[in-house]
Symmetry: C2
Subunit: 167 residues, 2 copies
C-alpha cells in the first residue's frame, strides 16, 4: 500500500535480466496471438516492480491502488500466463498462498522460510545441485524441476525469541 516504490529493481535480478524476461514474454504472447491489455500491462509492470515472492492478494492490492476496477480473476489469469510462458515461477511455501517470482535461469536458487515471521531468503549452492543430479542419475530419473526448502527460524527471530524469554 503506502510502500516505497523504487521502480528499478526486479528482486535480485539485474535490469538486463528483467528486460530479457519481458522480451521473452512479448514473443510468447505474439506467437499465441495474446493481447496486450491495460490490465495486463498494469499487473505485469507492478509485478516486475515488486517482484520476489509476492502473493496474488498483495499483488491485487497494489494493482487496485492504481486501478480499483481490476478483478482478481484477471490477476490469477495473468500470473498463470506468466507462469506458462516460463517468465515467472510459482511457489507454495505451505501457508496456503501461492507466491510468484521472476525466473532466473543463470543462478538457480532455493529458499529458507522463517516459520515465525514468514521471511523468505534465497540461497544458492551449486554443490547441492550437483549431488542432486547424481541422486537422480542413480535412479535413472530425469529431473525437470526441483524444490529445496528449509523451514525454521531466521537469525532475527532467534534473537527476538531469546530476548522475549529473558523478559
Amino acid at each position: 500500500m503506502g510502500s516505497v516504490k523504487l521502480g528499478v529493481s526486479a528482486g535480485k535480478l539485474t535490469n538486463a535480466d528483467a528486460d530479457r524476461l519481458r522480451r521473452d514474454l512479448d514473443s510468447y504472447m505474439l506467437k499465441r496471438g495474446l493481447r496486450s491489455t491495460e490490465q495486463r500491462r498494469l499487473i505485469i509492470d507492478t509485478f516486475f516492480d515488486v517482484g520476489e515472492h509476492i502473493t496474488i492478494d498483495s499483488l491485487l492490492k497494489q494493482v487496485r491502488s492504481v486501478d480499483s476496477r481490476v478483478g482478481y480473476a484477471t490477476v490469477y489469469r495473468t500470473m498463470k500466463l506468466l507462469t506458462e510462458s516460463g517468465v515467472v515461477q510459482e511457489h507454495k511455501f505451505g501457508d496456503g498462498f501461492t507466491r510468484y517470482e521472476l525466473s532466473d535461469e543463470e543462478h538457480h536458487h532455493d529458499h529458507l522460510i522463517c516459520l515465525d515471521c514468514g521471511k523468505i531468503t534465497e540461497f544458492e549452492e551449486p554443490l547441492i545441485e550437483e549431488l542432486q543430479d547424481r541422486v537422480a542419475n542413480r535412479y535413472g530419473f530425469h529431473v525437470r524441476q526441483h524444490k529445496h526448502e528449509l523451514y525454521g527460524t531466521c537469525a532475527e527471530c532467534q534473537k527476538r525469541n531469546a530476548r522475549k524469554k529473558k523478559a
Copy 2:
C-alpha cells in the same frame, strides 16, 4: 480395494520402528486424555498397514471397506492427530492431495516425484543434508524441517515414452 495386504510392512520401516511409533502415539494420547475409539483404531491400523504416501481419499476407501460408516472428517481428524504427535509426516507434492507417511527419525529421506505416472521414490543423501546445514549456518538460520523434492520423469516412464514415440 482388492489389493494384496501383507499386514506386516509399514513402508520401509522395520517392525521395531513401527512398534516404537505406536508406543509414541499411545503415550501421546494418554498424556492428553485422548480416547481410543473403534474408528481411530481402524484408521491407524489401516494406515500402518498401507503406509507410504497415502492420501486421505485412498485411506478412507480402505477404511470404509471394513466399516462403511466411518466419516471422512474422522479420517482427517485422526491424521491430524498423528501428525501433531509426530508419528506421521504430511507431504504436499503439488497434485492437490495431502499425503502421509510414518516418521523415520533415523534415516531421513527425500523424494523423487514422477510427473507422468505419479510414482514417488525415496532417496537418502547425507551429503546433501550436510551441505544444507552449512547453508543454514551461513544465514544463522535454525532449520526445523525441510523439503527436498525432485520432479520429473522416472526411468520407466522415459522408456515408455520412447516406445510411444517410435510407434
